[in-house]
C-alpha cells in the first residue's frame, strides 16, 4: 500500500488552488452540499494516498478529475442513496419572458432533471457542458471509450429534454444537437 501523505504542504497547495472548481463539480454531480463535501473528501483521500505518484505525473489535474468522477459513480453504487433533493414529477410550465424569476425556475428545473439522471449521465453532462471537455477528454476522465461518452451524452440530453421540456431550447442550442 502506497501512502505518501508526508508531503502535506504540496497536497494542500494543490488542493487550495483547485478547491473552488472541485467544489462546483462535486455540487453539480450530487446536487447536495453534504454529498458534495463527502465526494470531495472521498476523492481527496484517494489523492492523498497516492500523492507522491500523482504529483509526479504530467497532468495531476486529469488524475484528480478521474478520481472524483469515479468516486461519484462508485459512491452512488455503494450507498444507493436517494438524492436529498426529491425532484417533482412535472416541471412548471415555461413562462413567456426571461427574467430573474424565470432564471430561478430554469435553474431549479435543471437541478431537478439532473437529479433524475443516472450518475454516469450526470457525469457526462458536467464533463462535456460544464467543464467543456471533448469527448476524448471526457472518456479519459470516466475511463470509458469515446463511443460510450457519445452515447451516454445522447441519452443524457434526451432524458434532460424529456424531463424538462422547458429547457429544450438550451439543448437544441448545443453545437452537437444530438437529440
Amino acid at each position: 500500500v502506497y501512502l505518501d501523505v508526508d508531503d502535506d504542504e504540496g497536497l494542500r497547495d494543490f488542493v487550495r488552488a483547485r478547491l473552488a472548481g472541485l467544489s462546483r463539480i462535486a455540487y453539480l454531480l450530487t446536487g447536495d452540499h453534504h454529498a458534495a463535501e463527502d465526494l470531495v473528501q472521498g476523492a481527496l483521500v484517494k489523492v492523498a494516498a497516492r500523492w507522491a505518484r500523482v504529483s509526479a505525473t504530467d497532468n495531476p489535474d486529469a488524475y484528480v478529475r478521474r478520481i472524483i468522477y469515479h468516486e461519484h459513480v462508485s459512491a452512488w453504487r455503494r450507498r444507493h442513496r436517494q438524492p436529498l433533493e426529491q425532484p417533482t414529477a412535472q416541471p412548471p410550465e415555461r413562462p413567456g419572458r426571461r427574467d430573474e424569476a424565470e432564471d430561478a425556475i430554469r435553474r431549479l428545473l435543471l437541478q431537478q432533471a439532473l437529479a433524475k439522471l443516472t450518475p454516469r449521465q450526470r457525469a457526462v453532462i458536467v464533463l462535456r457542458f460544464f467543464e467543456d471537455l471533448s469527448e476524448a477528454e471526457a472518456a479519459a476522465a470516466l475511463g470509458v471509450s469515446r463511443g460510450t461518452v457519445k452515447s451516454q451524452t445522447h441519452h443524457a440530453l434526451g432524458r434532460l429534454r424529456a424531463l424538462a421540456p422547458e429547457l429544450a431550447d438550451l439543448i437544441n442550442d448545443l453545437p452537437e444537437v444530438l437529440v
Binding site: 502535506d8 467544489s23 410550465e93 413562462p95 413567456g96 430561478a104
Partner: protein, 408 residues
C-alpha cells in the same frame, strides 16, 4: 459557450467551498496505520472506519439539515377532466392540503390526492387549511367558518358583522385558531374600534373572546393558546430605528403580559441603514415558526415612481419569544419579485402562503396564459436557505387560494 453551460454555471454557483483536506489527510493516515497494526487493532480501526462512513451518511437527519419535502402536497396540482365530486356532507375526508380555484369553482385537494368541489358560495372566500389538514377556514361576510374535514361538523366564529376587518392565524400544532377583528379606523392616526381576539380551541371547540388595544394586531397564536400581538405603526412614521413592539396575550387571564421592544438596527445591512429611503419596519406580516420563534416580515419601502413609494414584504426576522430578542435574519429569495402591489406588478411574483415546520411555502405566479396564474409551489428550507419546487400547477389552475398552515 452555450446557454446550458450558463445554466450549469448558475447551479454551480450555489456550491459552497468544501475543504475536507485535513479530514482527508487524517483518513489517509489512519488507513496507513491500519495497514500496519495487528488484526485486533485492525478490527477496532474497521469499527472506526465504519463509523466514519456511517456518520456522514446519517448526518443530514441528525443535524436537521436534510432538504425539506412536503409529503402531503401532490407533486402536481391538476384539474381533472371530470368535475370532482362535492365535498361530502355525510362523512369526513382525508386531511386537506391545498385549495385551488378553476373557473368559478374552488376545489379541495386532500392528502390522499383526492379532489372535492367546495360549495359554490365558498368560492373566493376560502382562507386556508389548518396545519394538521383537519380544518378549512372560510370567511363569509359576517363570520368565519371552520369546517371539520375529518367529519361533517363546523365551528362558526363570530366575525363582528359586515364591514369588520378580520385576520386569522393557526397555532403550529393545529390546536388553536385565533381571529382578530376590528372596525378599522379611517386613518392611521386613529385606533380601531371594538378590536378583539377570539381564540378557538379546535380540540374542545370552545371559544374565548378578549378585547385588545386598537393599536395592536394579531401576529400569531402559540401552541399554548397564547396570542402574539404587534404594535401597528403608521408607515409614515417608520424609520430604520423604529423598534418592533410585541406583546403576549395570555389565554387564561386574557391580559397582556410580556412586552418586548426589539431594536432591529443591528440586523440591517449597512446599505439599508444608510439608505435615503430607509427600510420600513412595521411588523405588518408575522408568522410563527414553532412554539417559541416568531418570524416577522417587515416591509421595505421601494420607489414606485418619482413621486411615490410602495411597500413590499422583505426578509424574515426571527424573534425568540423566551427572550424577546432577534436571533436571525432569513434572507428570502428574490425579494424584488415578491412585488405584488397594484402599482408594481411584476411578470413574476412570489407570494408567501404559509409557514410550516418544513419551511416557508410560496406560490410562484408567472404564467403567461392566463396571465399571472400559479406555476409552482416553492419551499424555502430555512435550515439551508435553499429554495426548491415542491409542487407544480397545471395551466387550468387559476389560483391557489388555500394552503395548509395559511390563513390569508
Amino acid at each position: 459557450m452555450n446557454r446550458l453551460k450558463d445554466l450549469l454555471d448558475d447551479v454551480a454557483e450555489q456550491a459552497k467551498l468544501y475543504d475536507p483536506t485535513d479530514r482527508a489527510l487524517a483518513v489517509a493516515r489512519r488507513r496507513r496505520r491500519v495497514a500496519r497494526v495487528t488484526p485486533v487493532a485492525l478490527a477496532a480501526a474497521v469499527a472506526i472506519a465504519l463509523a466514519a462512513v456511517w456518520l456522514p451518511l446519517h448526518r443530514s437527519a441528525a443535524d436537521g439539515d436534510a432538504a425539506a419535502t412536503v409529503s402531503w402536497l401532490p407533486d402536481r396540482i391538476t384539474v381533472p377532466k371530470k368535475a370532482p365530486p362535492l365535498l361530502p356532507i355525510d362523512h369526513g375526508v382525508a386531511p386537506g392540503s391545498v385549495v385551488y380555484q378553476t373557473g368559478d369553482k374552488a376545489v379541495l385537494v386532500t392528502e390522499d390526492s383526492r379532489q372535492y368541489q367546495l360549495p359554490r358560495e365558498w368560492t373566493g372566500y376560502v382562507r386556508g387549511v389548518s396545519p394538521d389538514g383537519r380544518w378549512l377556514a372560510i370567511e363569509t361576510g359576517e363570520k368565519v367558518l371552520l369546517r371539520d374535514l375529518s367529519g361533517t361538523g363546523q365551528i362558526e366564529v363570530a366575525g363582528g358583522g359586515a364591514g369588520v376587518a378580520k385576520h386569522g392565524s393557526w397555532s403550529p400544532d393545529g390546536h388553536w385558531f385565533a381571529l382578530w377583528t376590528a372596525k378599522v379606523a379611517s386613518n392611521t392616526a386613529e385606533s380601531d374600534a371594538d378590536p378583539r381576539i377570539t381564540t378557538v380551541d379546535l380540540y374542545s371547540r370552545q371559544q374565548q373572546v378578549a378585547p385588545i388595544s386598537g393599536s395592536v394586531t394579531l401576529t400569531g397564536v402559540l401552541n399554548s393558546g397564547d396570542v402574539a400581538l404587534a404594535d401597528r405603526i403608521s408607515p409614515d412614521q417608520v424609520t430604520t430605528s423604529t423598534p418592533i413592539r410585541l406583546s403576549i396575550l395570555d389565554r387564561q387571564t386574557r391580559q397582556v403580559r410580556d412586552r418586548y421592544q426589539i431594536d432591529p438596527t443591528p440586523w440591517l445591512s449597512t446599505k439599508e441603514r444608510q439608505a435615503r429611503q430607509p427600510a420600513g419596519l412595521p411588523s405588518v406580516e408575522a408568522l410563527l415558526a414553532d412554539g417559541r420563534t416568531l418570524l416577522i416580515r417587515p416591509f421595505v419601502r421601494l420607489p414606485v415612481n418619482r413621486d411615490s413609494v410602495g411597500y413590499v414584504p422583505d426578509d424574515a426576522l426571527a424573534i425568540n419569544l423566551d427572550t424577546g430578542k432577534l436571533t436571525r435574519r432569513y434572507y428570502l429569495p428574490d425579494p424584488r419579485i415578491a412585488v405584488s402591489t397594484r402599482d408594481m406588478v411584476a411578470d413574476h411574483n412570489r407570494t408567501l402562503k404559509s409557514m410550516l415546520p418544513e419551511g416557508l411555502l410560496y406560490v410562484h405566479n408567472g404564467r403567461t396564459s392566463p396571465p399571472g396564474g400559479p406555476i409552482a409551489l416553492e419551499l424555502l428550507d430555512l435550515s439551508t436557505g435553499r429554495l426548491q419546487v415542491v409542487s407544480t400547477a397545471s395551466s387550468a389552475v387559476a389560483d391557489i387560494v388555500g394552503l395548509r398552515g395559511g390563513t390569508g
